[in-house]
Symmetry: D2
Subunit: 292 residues, 4 copies
């Protein structure tokens, strides 16, 4: 396919290379032109502006740093918005805000172009190895048009809905999940270390118990289903353990704000009469407080 590739940074460069390796005709553009030029050796044409890259493309892939950069590449002077032919697809792989994704969906529709949001999970090494996971959303037909591109860059593509914004929501939630795990790891490693447990020992336990085990997935499945009785482990028991941890952490002088927050959630559940529900009913509270 004829593909315009906008943004050949640490993630975009290996993605564009994957497209070239899969036999696609790629025209690449990058703000700092030098970062796109290595692609010429792999057969890419290098464009001077986004518009030039997009003018005869079937699909324009964008992989940019943030909302501002993407906004400029699409709507700026020499942006792809005016250049991409009718029926062409903008495949947006950047991690951007939900609002901008909505704006893009509306704007491209006016121009009779298609828009698919397709943010990716994975690092440059995963991009290099075509092991990215893509979360895509958009009209089914538009996604089908993008299949050859998606298959060339990703190990797997999850289609999460017809509204492009859905993909952005899922991607942002995923990044929060990682950040929350980091916060939790940070607090627990601090607590373990200050209590005299070796970090390597603590890591060994985590590796042998949680990571790679079905524990987290099991809770996610229960939450997806929304059934919190019978309890495998009650809110009340969960609160007990959090109380014991916070008491020990206070004695060791280790602030654990994440643990405080979780404690308050469990306590709220108990105050609202869910003490004997499974502790994953914390998710029911989160939903209720969102007005669901």
């Amino acid at each position: 396919m004829k593909i315009a590739f906008l943004g050949t940074g640490r993630m975009g460069l290996p993605m564009a290379r994957s497209l070239l390796a899969a036999g696609h005709e790629v025209t690449a553009w990058n703000r700092t032109r030098g970062k796109a030029e290595p692609l010429a050796a792999h057969g890419a044409r290098i464009a001077g502006t986004p518009a030039e890259a997009a003018q005869d493309a079937e699909i324009a892939v964008t992989m940019l740093a943030d909302d501002e950069a993407l906004d400029e590449v699409v709507f700026g002077d020499e942006g792809i918005y005016e250049a991409l032919p009718q029926g062409g697809v903008h495949l947006g792989c950047s991690t951007i805000g939900v609002q901008l994704s909505r704006t893009l969906a509306d704007a491209h529709e006016i121009q009779r172009q298609l828009y698919v949001a397709a943010p990716v999970f994975g690092r440059p090494e995963a991009a290099e190895a075509r092991k990215l996971k893509v979360v895509a959303a958009g009209e089914a037909g538009a996604i089908e048009l993008c299949r050859p591109v998606l298959d060339a860059i990703a190990a797997r593509t999850f289609v999460v809905g017809a509204d492009p914004a859905h993909a952005n929501v899922v991607k942002l939630c995923g990044n929060f999940m990682i950040a929350a795990m980091i916060e939790t790891l940070g607090e627990t490693f601090a607590m373990a270390r200050k209590s005299g447990v070796e970090p390597a020992t603590f890591l060994e336990v985590l590796d042998g118990t949680f990571f790679g085990s079905p524990i987290f997935g099991g809770y996610a499945a229960r939450i997806a289903e929304g059934e919190y009785r019978p309890a495998a482990f009650t809110m009340r028991l969960g609160l007990k353990d959090l109380r014991l941890l916070l008491a020990a952490a206070e004695a060791a002088e280790v602030p654990m704000p994440g643990a405080s927050l979780v404690r308050d959630r469990l306590l709220t559940g108990i105050a609202l009469g869910r003490g004997e529900d499974d502790w994953s009913a914390a998710a029911a509270l989160a939903a209720e407080q969102a007005g669901l």
Copy 2:
């Protein structure tokens, strides 16, 4: 071995059965005697008091609901404290507080008994299937004495130190990690649902990206090592994504207090000059604020 088993509830009962199946001589006690009696059919003797069960035991295993229950079974009238022979081991499998574990360590030493803290990860079904993971701490010699017991009930035993309290810290940190994951899942499922993403679809993405992948373990390893440069994903980029998520969640009217907390952690890192560190340096902040 001659084993006293105190507390034959939902977890204790299958654990005691595993010991009997492995050929040990078990005397069981439970506050509600009826809950211990099914073990008689498997060859256990049923005792009327904790003291009676412990009086000629080599190892007294306790598996009780909370600190109060354990305190009573050990130090109460007819408790095991006076009854367990010198050189006998109290193998404490309950999830209890760090303070009580310290008290037990001191008390048993006075009585020339041994004490090993060995809380378990796993549910009744895992206990049934001898698939528990045990986190043990105590003097090496005492742990060795308990090996036959540990091997009979657990798929794996992690020895985390010579100070029994270490095992309790690790267990409590582990339970917090699950609770924090539940909180994060609760907030993200609420956000996904309110944004129009099907829970089953969201679950599919989580299953295909995080759970069963080395992502969380990789971060844990980095944190255990304490090296945050070069960054795979910077604090500054992490903050950007949290900001986008919180903005979208506000627009969708979904409160995400866990995300707010993580955002503030990342912002603190940036304010303190760590903006270009890997975002797992949030763990370095947690450690610093604990005075480490």
Copy 3:
């Protein structure tokens, strides 16, 4: 003076009346014209567009609902930006964001107009009674030009700096302070009620101890000075009391997330070696974590 008044809603209307009562020549505009018309009876001219109101004004006062509304009134078609004469002052009384205030300062400078940010504390009744408190920032000369306006609407004007954005920061901090007090009141009233204390009784104590007393002001003065030794009440004692409160609240099943947050702050202070500082040194931690 010749004054354009843009935005005659619940706050703006009485403010404009105050200006008329003080003898100023006021041209008023409101998006819903009907809301401006009552001012005609007090001698105001009613304009059809912001530009019309501003075209011969010495000072253009804006009092609008939010950033979007102000942006439109200033920079939109028929906005005041092109109309206000050179040397004219835009006196912005709305509670708006710091970023927009910076944008306005730059934009008006280009047009050789002056810009003073002057958000107000007070409700419609206070506006009616000319008892508003104004927080103003901008060039000294510009503020002097606005004095007759400020004197006509406010009981007191605080000049907080030459950079207009300063006034917006202070106003937003002030509103947060009220919201935080509401959160704290909400949690404590819930705790008092659930513990059996009558709300009216609790209110009586608060009225007789904190409100109207120099307690809060005293702490603010200490924080402004930045001296936390000798302690009047140490961080360590503060943590003790928060611990007791959270334990009682847990027993009564009352979640107090604000108290958890404060507890973690005090614990951080102690972990960092400030246990014997006055507990107001929590403010020193907040400053340090901001990189100050």
Copy 4:
């Protein structure tokens, strides 16, 4: 009256002096005897043990550092529990936990002694000047017996109920209120400073707007009443301002966790359909989440 005074530290010493000045017969005891001895010059008898001090007292006043110290002085060897005559009153002025207060109430009843919890607000200087505020709870008759003592040490006594624990709840809530104000001040001073506003200037605004004004008291009254319509300032507007503050704080790199928490509370209110309620309805949410 014949008064035993237990605990003559920084607070207790001036309180005991006030009792002597009012003509009472005081027997003082302190763990470090030297700290009680200055009272001898004012006419006090110095006792060697709590029991000795209490043995012929009508009222035993305790003013100790924490739960452990009070527990020891009451129930320890040589404690007042066995010594205080039947009908004697234990007037507990320390800031202690609700649980211990309940225990004391029960224990003294068994011994046919009376117990009044009467924690104090105020510092040593206030104690010196007899300007303490006392929050008392207990049986009406017992409080009446204590009146001469209360009148000698306090500017004002608030009676908050017949259950002694009520006084402890109110005192702990009061201390949290101060700590929360300190947290809020800490965050806002950090934000003001980092934005370039002088601390002294910010203090001047706070002094001129909030402190000494009826603002906080007005909100407390509204919350005590529980009426949140019509709104003086809506939740929705409150959220807007918090959003603007957090955006500005992020740009200035100032973490404001308290503001994040308040933002999430307001957002919860909006998600639950209270967007047009007065923002003090945050208190209604706190109550609901406590199961009220």
